[in-house]
Every structure is written in C-alpha cells, then in structure tokens.
C-alpha cells in the first residue's frame, strides 16, 4: 500500500497542481514532493525491520491473461526510488526560479514523471512495467518540447520517436515472453524469470529488450539523441533525463533482461561489454570537444553510463553492486552539476565554457560545491563516484584486464575534462563582466545537499551496499539457475 502511495501521491498531486493557479501550484507541488520524499525516507528507515512483502501491492487486473497490477520494493528498486525522490525536488527548484510560462503545468509534469519513475522501479508485472515506462516518458517529452530551447521541436521529436521505437520492440518482447511462461501464462516478474524460451528465438527477443534499454541508457551507438535533447531541454528536463531517466535503461537490464535471458545474453556478452567500453572512451573524448556546459555533461554522462553498462554486463556481484552505487552516485552528481550549470547560466547569461571565467572570486561556496560534485564525477576516493567506478572496473577486470584498462581510460579523460572545465570557468582572473554571482537559498541548499550526499556515499557506502546486496544476489541466483 505504501508503494502504491509513492506512485499515486505524485501522480494525483501532479494532476491537481496542473489545475491550480501558479502561486498555489508552487506550494502544493513542493508539498507533494516533500510528503512523497518523507514517505520514501520512512520506508528506508523501517527497511529490514519490516518484512519486504509489506510493501507489495497486488490487484488482479485481467486474470485470464495473468495480468495484475503488481508492485513492490526490494533492495534494487529502493535505492533508485530514493534517488528519484531526491532529484525530482531539484527539478522543481530549478523550474521555480525560472518563472516559466504556464508553470503549474510544468510542476505537474515533473510530479507525474516522478510517479512514472517510481512505478518503473516498483513494477513486478511486465505490462505494468511497460505502462510506467511510457508514463515516465510522456511528461519529460512535454517538458522538453514546450519549455525547451530554440530547436526543441525537431530535437525532442527525434528523441521521442527513437525511444518509442525502442519501447515498441520491448512491448513485442514482453508479449512474446508471456507466451512461454509456465501454465496459464502470466506477465508476472516471477513467471518471466522462469519462462523457457525456445533457444533459437531467445537472442532475438533479448535484442528487443536490449534495444529499448540501450536507447534509454544510452549505450553506444544508440546515443545520438542524447546530447541534443539534454541541450534543448530546460534545466529541469535535463536533470530528470540525465539523473533519472537514463537509469531506467540499466535498471531494466538488471531486472527484466539479464535474469530472463541469461543464456542468450552470455553468448553476446562480449559485444555488450565492448559497446559499453567504447562508450566510455567515445563519450569522454567527444566531451572534450564541447563548448557548451550542458553538452559536456551529456557526453560525460554517456561515458559514465558506458562504464556502468560494461561493469554490470561483466556479470559479477561486484559489478552489480558497483552498478547500483554508481547509478545513485552519478544521479546525485549529475543533478548537482546540471543545477550548478543552470545557476551559472542565470548569473552570467550563458553557459559557454570560457565565456566567463574566474567565478571562484565571486562565490567561493559555489565553486567549492561545484568542485566536490565534479570530483565525484571524476571518481575521486571518498566520493560516491569512486566506490561505483572501483567496483565496476574491478568486475570488468575479472572479465578481462584489457577491458578494464580501456574502460579505465575514462578515469584519466574524465579528470582532463572536468579540471579543464573548472580551470576555464571557475578559475582565472577576476571576471570583469560579472559583478555578483548569487545562489538562491533553495538552490544553495539543494547543491549542498547533493554534494554532501556524494561525499557521504563515498565515505560510508555500506548501507547502500548492504541494502542492495540481497536483491542483487537473488537476481544473480536466478541467472545461475537458468
């Protein structure tokens, strides 16, 4: 029931917010996001003390098809739900400052997106998963298409078509797997885990799922929608896309792909890992050529995602655990950096790298927080990024040391990328064109929270590792059993 509330609260709250006048919408939106966050934190605080089954919710929908509205939480979904409830308010804070036109709708869409994401992470039934998967897409599409930059229309259309095409393949795959579930057929996660697919069909159906997930992550070479979309979307949209939506792909792979098709995947494992590793190098190299901060972050994100994918696909518990830590760490740091870029843009009038430099002279606190978040992105020890990268690369090295070496190049290139950016934007002579550089209290608070969370995750990752271990172990065993 609590899980259902975590979805319904932002969903209904979002719909309500859309109908309200702007001022009321602000307050209600903040309230809804706050209550949802408290609820999720409450779940986290009693986790382990209460049986996990107490968070399950099951409602028969179409018994004849084995379709039910089934949701629940475990150690794999809870961290991502927590990430969602932390990041969605950041998107709200960013859009509240901007005073966008028809902002009530924008706030409502952000909340609806939050609901969709929680649904994706909680779904225990393939159709429910699919529905939430699309539900999470629609709001962010509207956010990008209506509140985005100049080229928003063609760019968001491309993004939309691309991901929808991917989803359609997944839908086909879901229906296909359903036909091979035991007994009277079912869409339930557990039935999917025990489905026995014909050997020759399995790789094709795997490809259907993989296509959808690869676009969402994105995995090389399905990434060409990403940098344009991140760039054109308003800051709130980019934060939702980069910090949260990108995680849906990897989550989907761990939950719905690897345990369903372990044998077929094993045959293609090297290909998947290679794509991930190519993405690491490709992404960070292309990022070096970027002049726009958001595009830089888009490409750097792509690089990080490549490592997460490669590490997870190396199929070791260490890689799975690293994947979870890195999903959270990356979500925190990218949300923080995007927020920082938005503050930067609002205070200097642009986000071209090098157009304004020396901002550390104007606001030391901002510079410090920015550097902490960047260090987490670089994977410096005692930040969350390190724990994730370390475990991912370690797992990758067990697959092959050469892969770890190439994947590890991101460690060097990432340092070049972020430190050059810091050098060009924060350091240097006192800026003559920018007299004041101020953060709003809400922005400063959000930035501080994200930076501190990144540090906390790096200094004491134990709770997250212990929270996720049993769930990952269970998935691991299902894969082994097949």
């Amino acid at each position: 029931m609590v899980t259902l509330l975590l979805i319904l609260l932002p969903l209904l709250g979002g719909l309500l917010v859309m109908a309200l006048p702007e001022k009321a919408a602000r307050i209600v939106a903040a309230l809804v996001a706050g209550v949802t966050a408290l609820l999720a934190l409450g779940v986290a605080s009693v986790w382990g003390a209460w049986p996990a089954a107490s968070f399950d919710f099951l409602l028969d929908w179409v018994p004849a098809w084995g379709l039910s509205f089934s949701i629940g939480l475990d150690g794999l979904s809870l961290p991502l739900v927590l990430l969602t409830i932390v990041v969605a308010p950041v998107a709200l804070i960013v859009s509240m400052r901007r005073d966008e036109r028809r902002s009530s709708i924008l706030y409502g869409l952000i909340l609806a997106m939050e609901a969709g994401l929680v649904g994706v992470f909680a779904a225990r039934d393939a159709v429910v998963f699919y529905l939430f998967w699309e539900l999470a897409l629609v709001p962010v599409y509207f956010i990008a298409a209506f509140w985005g930059g100049e080229k928003r229309v063609p760019v968001t259309l491309k993004f939309f078509v691309y991901t929808v095409v991917g989803s359609l393949f997944m839908l086909f795959g879901i229906i296909y797997v359903h036909g091979y579930t035991a007994g009277a057929h079912s869409f339930a996660l557990s039935s999917f885990y025990s489905a026995q697919l014909p050997e020759e069909a399995a790789p094709w159906i795997l490809a259907c799922f993989a296509f959808a997930f690869a676009i969402k992550m994105p995995l090389f070479p399905f990434h060409t929608w990403q940098s344009d979309t991140y760039n054109e979307a308003p800051a709130a949209g980019t934060i939702l896309l980069a910090a949260l939506m990108a995680k849906m792909g990897l989550y989907g792979a761990i939950r719905w792909m690897l345990p369903v098709f372990p044998t077929a995947f094993a045959a293609w494992q090297t290909v998947f890992i290679t794509l991930g590793v190519i993405g690491v190098v490709w992404g960070s190299l292309v990022a070096l050529a970027q002049k726009d901060m958001k595009r830089l972050l888009a490409w750097s994100s792509f690089s990080h995602t490549g490592l997460m994918a490669a590490g997870v696909f190396s199929l070791g518990m260490l890689g799975f655990q690293g994947g979870i830590v890195q999903m959270v760490a990356h979500g925190l740091s990218i949300a923080g950096l995007l927020l920082a870029v938005d503050i930067f843009e609002s205070q200097t009038g642009g986000r071209q790298i090098g157009a304004v430099s020396g901002l550390a002279h104007r606001n030391g606190a901002f510079a410090t927080l920015f550097v902490i978040l960047a260090l987490s992105a670089i994977g410096l020890p005692l930040t969350g990024g390190f724990v994730g990268e370390f475990l991912l690369l370690l797992s990758l090295s067990k697959f092959g040391l050469w892969w770890a070496l190439v994947g590890g190049l991101g460690v060097i290139l990432g340092a070049v990328l972020y430190l050059q950016w810091i050098r060009k934007s924060l350091l240097g002579p006192v800026p003559s064109t920018v007299a004041v550089f101020k953060m709003r209290p809400s922005e400063a608070a959000a930035l501080t929270l994200l930076a501190l969370a990144s540090l906390a995750l790096g200094i004491y990752p134990k709770p997250l590792l212990e929270l996720s271990a049993p769930a990952l172990d269970a998935i691991f065993h299902i894969m082994g059993a097949k």
Binding site: L131, T224, Q290, S397, L405, G408, L409, V411, G428, Y460
Partner: protein, 629 residues
C-alpha cells in the same frame, strides 16, 4: 590514553584543522587560521613522538592497528577503514608531521600578506591528512585514498594562486599525470584481488610468501603498482609535472618534494617489498627507470635558470637514486635517502623561498647574486642544504648517498659508475645554484632591497639545517663501527639488508664518491665563481647546453605526440564519426521508414505523440475491457 586512539588522532587532527580553517576561515581570520593549521600538525607530531618514545622499536614487536569501520563491504571483498603502525609507517609519520609542521610554521610568515591564507592552510592540512592516511592505511584500497588525496591536494595547492591561468594549467597537468599512474595502480589492485582475494597488507603478504618467485601474476601486480609510483614520484616518463608544480607557493613545493607526495611511490614499493622480492623483472625495471631518471633530470638541472626549477629537477633526480636503490633490493637504504632528503630538500626549498621573499618574488638566478651578506641565516642554511644534497661529509646526504652507492656497487659496478656520474651532476648543479645566488656579482634588480625573513621563517630553516647535518648519523655504514640504527629499525617492515662488501672496498668507494662530488662542487665554483661572466642570453646557448636548458623538449614531444592528436581525435569523433557516421545511419533509417510510410500512407496525421497516447490508452482499454469481460 589508549594507543589505538592516539593512532586515530594522528590523521584526525589535521583533518579537523582542514575543516575548521576551510569552513570557518573567513571568520577566524588569517592569523588564527594559520596557527590552527600549524598547531594541529604539531599536535600530530607530538602524538607520533609519544608513541615512538613509548615503543622505540616502532611497534615491531607488539604491533598496533585499529579497524574503524567497514568501508566497502562488497560481495566477497570487504575493504576496511583500518589504520596500522609499524616501523616504516611510524618513521614516515614522524617525517610527515615533523617536517610538515616546520613547513606550516614557515608558511605563517610566508603567507602573512596573502588574503587566501585560511584557504592555504586548510589545503596544507588536507595534504598532511591525505599523506598520513596513505602511510597509515592497513590495506591497498585505503592507501589509494591517500594516494589520490595527495594528488588532489597538489592540484589545489599548485593552482593556489588561481588568478593566473598558467598556474592552473600546471595544476591540471600534475593531477592528470598522476591519474595516468593511478590507473596503473588501480589495475594492479584488480590483479591483486584476482590473485589473493584481498587488498589487506597482512593477507596479501602472507599469501604472496607462499608463491614462487617470478610468478606472472606477481610481476604484473608489481609492475602495475610501479606505474602508479612513476606518476606519483615523478619518474620517466611521467616526471614533467613536478618541475611545473613549483607554480604553487614555495612552502607547497617544500611539502610536495620533501615531506609528502613524491615519497609516496618509494613508500609504496618498500611497503610491498614482499611482492617485489618475488618479482625480479619488476626490480630490474625499477632500477633502470630510477637510474635513467637520476641522470636525465640531473642533466636538465645543469642549466635551469629558475631557482625552484633547479631544485625541482634535483628532486626528480634524487628520487631516481632512491628507486635505483629499491631496484637492487636495498629497501632500508632507499628509505634512508628519503629520510635525509626530507630534511635537506625541505631546507633548500624553504631557503629558496626566503630568497624569493627577500627579492619580492624574483626567481631567476640570473637576477640574483651576492646575497650572502644580506641574508646571513638563509645563506648559511642554504649552504648546509647544498653540502648535504651534494653528498659532502659529514652532512646527511653523504651517508645516505654513500649507502646507496655501496648497495649499487654490490649489485653491479657498471650501475655504480653511472650513479657516480649522477652524483657528480648533483654536486655540480647545486654548486652552480649556490654560487649564482649567494656569491657571484650582485645582479639584483635596482630598487629591490633584500631583507632577512621573520623568525617564523628562519627558525624552520635552522632546525632543518641541524637535521640536514645530523640525520645521516642514524644510518652510518658498518665500517665506522657504529650500529646502523636506520636499517635495524626498519628491518621488520623493509626486510633485512646488508651490503656485504669488504671493509677495504667500502672505504675505497666512500673515498671515490667524496672526491667525485668535491670535484663537481669545485668545478662549479670555478666555472661560476667571482669574476666570471655568468648569465647568458637564451639565444647564445648552443649545443647540449641548449638541449638541457630546453629540458630536452620532452613537453613539446608529449604535446605533439599525445595532447594534440588526442584533441584532434576528439573533434573528429564529435564532428565526423558521430554526426555524419552514426547519426547519419539513424537519420537514414528514420528517413527510409518515413519514405516507406509515405508510400503506404500509414502515417495519416504524422503526430507521433498522438500515436503513443493512442497506444498506451489502447493497452489500458483492452486490459480494462478484458478485466470487465
């Protein structure tokens, strides 16, 4: 108090100092921040000294360790946040906090007029904390935290005066070159996990002991770890960051070159000596790289014109000596040189800082000269440092260098010959530096009035000069009939080592090396001494001197070979491969579908959002109908 608690306090105090001065620096003000930063390190030194006095054997017998918490408890691999103390980490701690304290004290005067003083002291404290974590960690992963931590701190401090873009560039270069090494270190750790299933010193060394010498896994691990050391300790080919690192305030150079950072690579190899002993190939690589670096950097130092650059290349060269020694298996001897070097290199940098301070920021030795009378304390102490690093008896460097040369000779007279040459270079470029700064004709810019520095700066100089004079007596060779305290103390951590030469040979070697370095020094005096026209214009240098002056153009070489191609590749990937290549295929596919669609007239409205809604709604409606039916 419980000794384990004291152990925890040693790194914790500078961490507290970092947080206090970092967060509250503006409120505390310059003076208070400086003293907080200095006293936390002094207190750590006091604690380390207390532990040392209580356990003069460096806990070799009793051992001291504490597990604070599980840092990364992952599947099948739990990494603890644990500290330990043994002779090696204890002596490192004493050097880091002792020399570190003097550098902090010196900085109070040096940074007095700098508005950023609180930030400076917070970074210095973080540096000391990171280095302490590095040497006190009881496993490789935690060591890596300190390892990367000192990299970060050097980045922050080299670019401390961040208004100047040039300094920021040097800071980035330092971090990136370190990171190249760090990737090697990480890969070494991965192979270690695969081989031993653990990263904790105790477990790894115990399991390694049961392995055969020359096992491929051990060779791979040790070589990978050494890649990390090459980056951190500025060896060929990753040394070019260190000379640029002098962009930071001078006390930072002293800290990086003497007490922290660059000695980390040496420490790591000695700490891992159990592994290296079983990897003869790695040891050979280490000695070759070390010797090559010692000579290469010595040659560059011959003609540098920046007082700090000469010292920076001398550090690179001295580190080469240390690695050479580790490569021949004389770990405690290598450490002995780290120990003496910490005194005289800190001294030389701080004295150089005093000169720069006196000349209002001038660093070009062509614009110095004749400073002996104007800066008497600086002069005397710099002389002590010069004699010590050159290896002139009875100063500290003499004993440590002599021990190195003896150990190298015992392995190979050829290596010894090359090392003697490197030692000659050291004496020559240090002699040149000393004469040009303090003796030759006064070439200082008009209007500059050199003045001796305040007591907070001169007291550290005097203390370090005393250390540079006396530190060598802790490791006297056997022929003097005095016990070699250093080797005995370190043996539990670094293994037993005896040079095993005949007494006569040792005396002979000592005589030769003394004569050689004296020759080097005197040669420099004759060449640059009073009456000689010293400085030459850049244009007038020719041949090998020009190559040395231009640092063999290694930076330009790296730029052309790596940096430029990398950025070219970056633009090509972005423009051509990505947009035209991959996205071309995507657009082509979309175009094809649209074309086919147009033919078949499937796309009636062309509104894709509508389709998605229709589809999602469709699924829900079908499901709803089915549910009702």
């Amino acid at each position: 108090m419980n000794e384990a608690v004291l152990l925890c306090l040693i790194p914790a105090l500078p961490l507290v100092g970092f947080l206090l001065t970092g967060l509250l620096g503006k409120k505390l003000g310059r003076g208070l921040s400086s003293w907080i930063g200095t006293l936390t390190v002094a207190a750590s030194f006091g604690l380390a000294l207390t532990l040392f006095i209580a356990h003069p054997d460096g806990f070799a017998a009793s051992g001291l360790g504490i597990q604070l918490f599980d840092w990364i408890p992952a599947a099948g691999l739990t990494i603890a946040f644990g500290l330990m103390l043994d002779p090696l980490s204890l002596i490192m701690t004493l050097v880091i906090t002792g020399i570190g304290f003097l550098i902090h004290l010196y900085s109070i005067g040096y940074m007095k007029h700098d508005e950023g003083a609180p930030r400076f002291f917070s970074f210095l404290n973080l540096f000391v904390f990171s280095m302490l974590l590095l040497v006190l960690a009881d496993n490789y992963a935690l060591m890596f935290v300190g390892w990367e931590g000192v990299g970060l701190c050097s980045y922050l401090l080299i670019g401390f005066w961040f208004t100047k873009d040039e300094y920021n560039a040097a800071a980035v270069k330092a971090f990136v070159m370190n990171r190249i090494g760090d990737l090697g270190f990480l890969l070494g750790l991965f192979v270690m996990v695969a081989t031993f299933g653990s990263l904790s010193f105790g477990e790894v060394f115990a399991k390694a002991g049961a392995m055969e010498a020359g096992a491929p896994a051990l060779t791979l691990i040790t070589l990978m770890l050494f890649v990390g050391a090459v980056g951190k300790s500025a060896q060929i080919p990753l040394y070019t960051w260190l000379p640029d690192a002098m962009a930071g305030p001078t006390p930072v150079s002293a800290l990086i070159h003497a007490a922290t950072m660059v000695t980390a690579g040496i420490y790591m190899v000695i700490r891992s000596h159990v592994l290296y002993d079983l990897a003869p190939i790695a040891l050979t690589v280490i000695s070759v790289v070390g010797l090559a670096t010692a000579i290469w950097a010595g040659l560059i130092a011959l003609s540098q014109r920046d007082i700090k650059k000469v010292l920076a290349y001398s550090t690179v060269s001295q580190l080469g000596f240390m690695f050479l020694t580790l490569g021949v298996g004389a770990y405690s001897t290598g450490y002995f040189h780290v120990f003496t070097h910490a005194f005289f290199k800190a001294l030389l940098f701080l004295a150089a800082g005093s000169v720069i301070h006196a000349l209002s920021g001038e660093q070009d030795i062509r614009k110095m000269g004749g400073l002996a009378k104007k800066l008497p304390i600086t002069y005397i102490t710099f002389l002590v440092g010069t004699l010590a690093i050159s290896g002139i008896p009875p100063f500290a460097g003499f004993f440590s260098k002599d021990a190195i040369l003896a150990a190298v000779y015992a392995r190979s007279p050829l290596l010894w010959g090359l090392s003697i040459f490197a030692a000659f270079l050291t004496a020559f470029y240090m002699g040149r530096l000393f004469i040009l700064v303090f003796h030759s004709k006064d070439r200082t810019t008009k209007g500059v009035h050199p003045h001796e520095s305040p007591w907070t700066m001169t007291v550290p100089l005097i203390v370090l000069a005393l250390g540079s004079t006396a530190a060598g007596f802790l490791g006297m060779p056997a022929v003097f009939g005095v016990p070699d305290w250093m080797a005995g103390f370190l043996a539990p951590s670094a293994g037993e080592y005896a040079v095993g030469l005949e007494e006569g040979t040792e005396w002979l070697l000592m005589g030769i090396s003394t004569v050689v370095v004296l020759c080097g020094f005197i040669f420099a005096v004759l060449k640059y001494g009073p009456g000689k026209v010293v400085p030459t214009e850049d244009k007038k240098t020719r041949g090998p001197v020009r190559w040395s002056l231009r640092k063999f153009r290694v930076d330009e070489f790296y730029d052309a070979l790596i940096v430029k191609p990398l950025f070219a590749l970056s633009s090509w990937l972005f423009g051509t491969a990505n947009d035209r290549g991959i996205d071309g295929v995507v657009r082509g596919t979309a175009g094809l579908v649209a074309w086919v669609g147009g033919r078949v007239r499937l796309l009636q409205t062309g509104n894709i959002v509508f389709y998605l809604f229709a589809m999602t709604l469709g699924v829900i409606v079908i499901a709803a109908v089915a549910a009702l039916g």
